[in-house]
Chain length 118, copies 2
DNA sequence: CTCTTGCTTCGACATCTTTCAATATTGTAG
DNA sequence: CTACAATATTGAAAGATGTCGAAGCAAGAG
């Protein structure tokens, strides 16, 4: 089957994922690398009208309001959600471009061919 | 902790992502929340025969060999890769079940957001 | 057996994360 | 303007993470 025999280490030139792209993408994955943020995203995404008020998200967790606010900030900075203020309330919605891009990277990994240069 | 007034907000019972699932999935996303590990996965996935020797991965980074080994361990513990020893060398390959599952979660996030014009 | 090579584990340290209480900001109502 | 309600920001403490050098283990060669 596999015969990269000979000398074990030709340094494997460059993976299809460049250093800068990896840095950018890893920020997005890191944002979902926390159970609270994953559930936040899931809650936002599952709303029928595509958006949720922070005041609906906060009481769903056993965490302080500043903590939820901080997690939402990280999701926003990673490009996963958008926020809009309407009156006193702030509404969050998913940015599907970002989740789609992440899904594309993962799919290309499993199809073991070139990673999308997105 | 978080006991807000019920003035504006019905507390949004449960998102579709249960607490335990979120914990499990967040481990996988966290594993890709580092540029080194993302590039490692990408390198492993992009090999024609689906597997790479550690000795090919290590020199591609400006990091010590123990550090690469540690990152590979995290990828393995997250279920993203498998390793197999053959002689002196250890080969890593992607576990597509895991990347597929992550991609499915992300896709559902973006598709659950349906446009309601009402 | 001993030596060498490939890889993993251990111990330590600096940095980054998560979390909270306190405070600030923004918008609405009186 | 004052008061209040919803979010965000700040600052600090506890814990997790990334990294390295040193040591350990496994397998092949002599």
């Amino acid at each position: 089957m596999s015969k990269q025999e000979a000398s074990c280490c030709e340094p494997l030139s460059e993976g299809p994922l460049a250093e800068q792209q990896a840095a950018e993408l890893s920020t997005m994955f890191k944002a979902l690398g926390d159970p609270v943020r994953l559930r936040l995203l899931s809650m936002i995404a599952s709303q029928p009208d595509g958006e949720v008020c922070v005041c609906e998200l906060t009481p769903a967790f056993d965490l302080s309001q500043p903590t939820i606010s901080h997690h939402l900030k990280l999701l926003r900075q990673a490009g996963l959600v958008d926020s809009e203020r309407r009156g006193t309330w702030v509404y969050y919605r998913v940015r599907p471009e970002t989740t789609d891009r992440m899904a594309a990277v993962l799919s290309s990994v499993s199809s073991e061919r070139r990673v999308v240069t997105a």
